[in-house]
């Protein structure tokens, strides 16, 4: 046995940076906020060393707007923030969705509401990321629970953002982000890297799609094809139009292109027992305690399964139903009041007894989950 020389201590935040660089991110703008500041700092050092762009912004709104502008010029872009900064970014985030501009926002959750606890973990922004948009549009949200997943899901966040031309949230939390773990940098998964579909000259329209779930090919600013972007409801030429059937078609298309790929975007981790009567579902840092609780329960003779959600939205409904199977009870563990994601699962699993393990102000312990089993 040997110790691989590439094993290093890395935090979740640092592995988000590794993932962003692997995905081809060349533009970062940020405003510091605990617990996301390490992403800002590391992206700044790494991109500057590569001669690429990292720019400090005077506030979170500027940071996301810089990223969106850069992306409209054709460059993969990212910013990182936490709850208070995310609240400021929501307007620009919606604009990215409406203009079909790829951009990745890493939201590192901390205790809220308001300023809350800067150095305390939480999973309270789960629905605030998903439902930040007016109108019921699906925002892809990925939630890592380990440094390695931070790497992989950041790559996937870029991939889906580019492929779908839509903004994506990487939803981490303080405990994932700021905990250092041994990571084998020499054995990172070799994930494919996708690019946004590029427009060719023939038949180009600013918002060009035939079927509603098609992703319109992208034309960069200063390219030969005229770009027409607007946050106003618009037709396929990108022009503001009211009472135009084509405008409604575009609005439906913004959702259809994401919804059509929900199955492909579903990522989960599983430790299943086919005869389980109870399934423990969790995500982010709490998924790790949940998995430990499931192991302990099995050691005590219980038939239980574990399901970790890496994709929170689009809701991986198929994977959830398959994992739950005939189990009669599902326990959802998450660090927030009232079970934010449990409410989502209630719609997916109407006939199952849903039970929550919830806590504020600290990590949920395996023992607390075990008690609920």
């Amino acid at each position: 046995m040997t110790v691989r020389a590439e094993i290093r201590l890395r935090s979740g935040n640092q592995m988000v940076v590794e993932g962003a660089l692997r995905a081809g991110c060349r533009f970062f703008s940020g405003y510091p906020i605990t617990p996301a500041s390490e992403i800002y700092r590391e992206m700044t050092l790494q991109l500057q060393a590569r001669g690429e762009v990292a720019v400090g912004a005077p506030d979170e709104i500027s940071a996301l707007c810089y990223c969106i502008g850069a992306s409209q010029r054709g460059v993969k872009s990212m910013t990182a923030t936490s709850g208070p900064g995310w609240a400021l970014m929501i307007e620009a985030f919606q604009w990215a969705l409406m203009t079909e501009t790829p951009v990745v926002v890493a939201v590192v959750q901390r205790l809220g509401p308001s300023t809350g606890g800067a150095t305390q973990g939480a999973q309270g922004d789960v629905l605030l990321t998903e439902f930040a948009t007016s109108g019921g549009y699906t925002v892809p949200v990925f939630a890592p629970s380990t440094p390695l997943e931070c790497f992989a899901l950041t790559v996937q966040a870029f991939n889906w953002s580019e492929a779908l031309r839509t903004p994506v949230v990487l939803l981490s939390d303080k405990e994932v982000a700021m905990t250092y773990e041994a990571v084998d940098l020499g054995a990172l998964p070799d994930l494919p890297v996708w690019a946004r579909p590029q427009a060719a000259g023939a038949g180009y329209r600013a918002v060009g799609f035939a079927a509603p779930d098609e992703v319109p090919p992208f034309a960069p600013l200063t390219g030969p094809l005229k770009v027409t972007l607007t946050g106003s409801a618009h037709n396929k030429d990108g022009w503001l139009r009211k009472n135009d059937p084509e405008t409604l078609e575009v609005l439906h298309h913004l959702e259809a292109k994401v919804a059509a790929r929900a199955g492909e975007m579903a990522m989960v981790t599983e430790d299943l027992d086919e005869d389980a009567d109870t399934v423990v579902v969790s995500y982010g840092i709490t998924a790790r305690a949940a998995r430990e609780a499931v192991r302990a329960a099995r050691a005590a003779g219980r038939r239980v399964s574990f399901l970790g959600l890496l994709t929170l939205f689009p809701v991986p409904a198929g994977a959830v139903r398959a994992a739950v199977g005939d189990a009669r009870r599902v326990v959802v563990a998450e660090e927030n009041l009232g079970g934010l994601y449990r409410r989502v699962l209630a719609g997916v699993l109407p006939a199952v007894e849903l039970r929550g393990v919830n806590r504020l102000g600290g990590m949920i312990r395996p023992a607390e989950i075990l008690e609920a089993l």
Partner: protein, 446 residues
Amino acid sequence: MVTADRPAFLGDRPMPYCRGCGHGLVARRLAEALGRLGLDASQVVLTSDIGCVGLVDPLFPSVHTVHTIHGRSTAVAAGAVLADTLLGEGRMKNVVMIGDGGATIGLLHLTQAALMNVDLTVLLHNNMLYGMTGGQHSALTPEGFVTSTTLAGNWLPALDMEQVLRGCHGGFYARQLATDRELADVIAEAIEFPGFALVEIFELCTGFGVPLNEMDGKTLRALAEADGRELGVRIRRPDRRPYHALYRERFPSRAGAPPAPAAAAPSSPFAHRLERSLGVVIAGSAGERVQTAAAVLTQAAVLSGLHCVQKNDYPVTVGSGFSLSEVKLCTEPILYTGIDEPDAVLIVSADGLREVKGRRDLDRLGPRGLVIVDESLAGELPPGRALAAPLRRTLRADAAALGAVALLVARTGVLARDAVLAAVDAVGGKDAGALRAAVEAAVPGG
């Protein structure tokens, strides 16, 4: 030179503005300026804000148009320009069209772009009120000016954009009237200026400003020149270099990632005697290298083929108060990262003891748990509970935590002393020598 009725760049749509509104004049002068500069349409990006000024996009059918959210147009344009100048061909000419709202909501974006000297041009259509929403007053409304929300006249002075720009070391600023004959020339100069340029254009809002105030062209000039302000190009600072030039000078363009350092060869792991897992809490004072000590322990575990996590906690003022690290080592991959029942608690300062008491780590200590404290704190713990060591006295205060780690390793035997020394070399950087000496001093001989 295109100075005909319909300059190049301007399509054949009718102006969408109220009769007599200055916005149409500005659009014409902009089109003239673009034509005069001989720009290719694909170079030009028209970034428009919300409000009547946002109706401009369809008037320019050949250039790229980006209609943004309210106030954010300057920031969006800045991002596009930074990407183009630093990662693209650098041929973008971005002209940002804002009104009173774009200036007030977006004031921070304007000042930051001016400070950075991002190479873009802002045309501020100052009609002294918010027009599209019904003629409400803005921060640009002059004192005494009647708006739908200041019917007895505005009682605050107007924001002076020239002074704002001076405060930001802005490179180019002009104050003009929409009716000025030289407006196209000024806009052209602003676009050519290699850096941030703001042209503030005073206009009449014929929908609200004119009916509410007795106004004509002379009043407009008087308002623009109020308080001794002067019209024309007021700031020209070619000495200020654009942001992208300064950035590129500091961070040269490189193709792809910097070469990765050559990977060290895999090594045989140091022997360990950990049966399953070990949870250690290390508590001390800020600035006394508690986290470094924790990193040495964690790295030593890595070099011994173990799984490990490390968490650091400290007050928001990183330079005062306590500093605490939690280290968990395990023979198996670690799921739950918390330490509910620590196996060892190392306390090297009074700050650290206070924090440990607050967290109740000692109450949660397992039955075989080990406590190592600096001798100065021994009296504050139940007799016989802790192993007291002269850490701060024999080592320096900033080596006490590492000394405690060395003691822990020696006492429990979970890791090899050589693993700790190798970890010191790996994480110590330029201080590796001093850290190594601290380990030697804490546990002499080996």
